[in-house]
Symmetry: C2
Subunit: 230 residues, 2 copies
Amino acid sequence: MKNFYSQFDFQSELLFEQLTSEEKKIVYNAMEPLIIKKGSLLFYEEGIPTGIFQIKKGKAKKFKRGFSETEQIFYIYTTGDVLGYHALFGEERYQDSCEALEDLEVNFIAKDVFFKLLEDIPSLQRVFIKNIGHEFGVLANIIAVLAQKNLNARLAINLLILENRFQKHDEENGIDLSREDLANIIGTSSESLGRSLKRFKDDGIIEVDKRIIYIKDKDVLFKLLNIEFC
Amino acid sequence: MKNFYSQFDFQSELLFEQLTSEEKKIVYNAMEPLIIKKGSLLFYEEGIPTGIFQIKKGKAKKFKRGFSETEQIFYIYTTGDVLGYHALFGEERYQDSCEALEDLEVNFIAKDVFFKLLEDIPSLQRVFIKNIGHEFGVLANIIAVLAQKNLNARLAINLLILENRFQKHDEENGIDLSREDLANIIGTSSESLGRSLKRFKDDGIIEVDKRIIYIKDKDVLFKLLNIEFC
DNA sequence: ATAAAAACATAACAAATGTTATATTTTTAT
DNA sequence: ATAAAAATATAACATTTGTTATGTTTTTAT
């Protein structure tokens, strides 16, 4: 089996790592630092692309409102992640929205500057398009989970994914998300989410302090998946 | 609201339509006709990309097996559709599998030939990458539906989508899919799917002959969505 | 520091979906 | 054309999830 986490991770923090240190220098010189306040949008559905972002510090949610009012969150970006490039390559509008979950430090590369980079660094376009292909597979995996797993299994999977993502770059421990956001990732109501969380608490699988969730027994979560996967 | 159907349609049948008639001629000259038997794979997950396909006649399902054994179908291709190009651009392996649902007539463009085309026709790459961006949005919409809609609503949406797609290019009327495949699109068991189909039949919304589903009252299906979307 | 607002936790009941079992229809192979 | 196999239809019961309601904790604004 492929690595569990990479099946659900865009791995966009590795995009620039594939460049030579010379090329990396060119890219990082093109960036301008920005602060984005909690709750504001980096970009929004149907908006005209302005450039790409790399998160220096903080978390952001990528979501889409269907015809229903509830937002479906399909990715949480965190430190190191690069985002906002799909629409640039396609010369299209944004397909989704992205909102800062806390005050965000980002590096921004304006559209024109980015296109100049693509000219100057031949391998850059390939690296990006390759990642879009990978992200395509991630979305397909998310579809499979939502379609095939029950609530407890979806919660287990997402707790594992989120803890892994959050501790990868931040030294942050635990999962700090609002119950509503977490429910909108998992595809349920916050009340039903609460019931599953309570069961996990009672079983000693997680601990909760304020709203932060700490995984105490990763093995049981994986085992829970294996059983229900058969 | 954007067109309902285009939110769920890859629209890959329009890819070559955006070229000049001169360019189109070059592309169509590069194709070689193939017959693919019902049940065989056009490509499979983790396989090495061989080229791209355009379906001349027939239907194919694109799916992915999660860690569970059940296959999650996330797209049904039909006449005119172009597929198999994601992995080529990314110089990656296929992220998913594609199986012929009936005997298929396809046009095939081998990998090397396709790369030559990309050199000869400057606008071709942009057209493809733009479509990958669009497809990304389609997957996000599918995620929203699976996460937020109940079984009847998911069935209603998918019946509308499939009927529209099948009659777009074939003169075919009605939806001819196995109950298992339909269940694996909608994210349920074939028994639960059967129950919803029966309810739709009893309500006069659909008629079923053999296994082919005919929509009798599209308005009620749309109305069913609007009500449940609020 | 305190009051008001927002977010969270929990329980009881209702509704939807999953599961198991059996009968019927359709397709396939001879 | 016929028998065997596969796919489909349906029902009854079990389980999961949604919904409504209420109390508590945490955050925010003054």
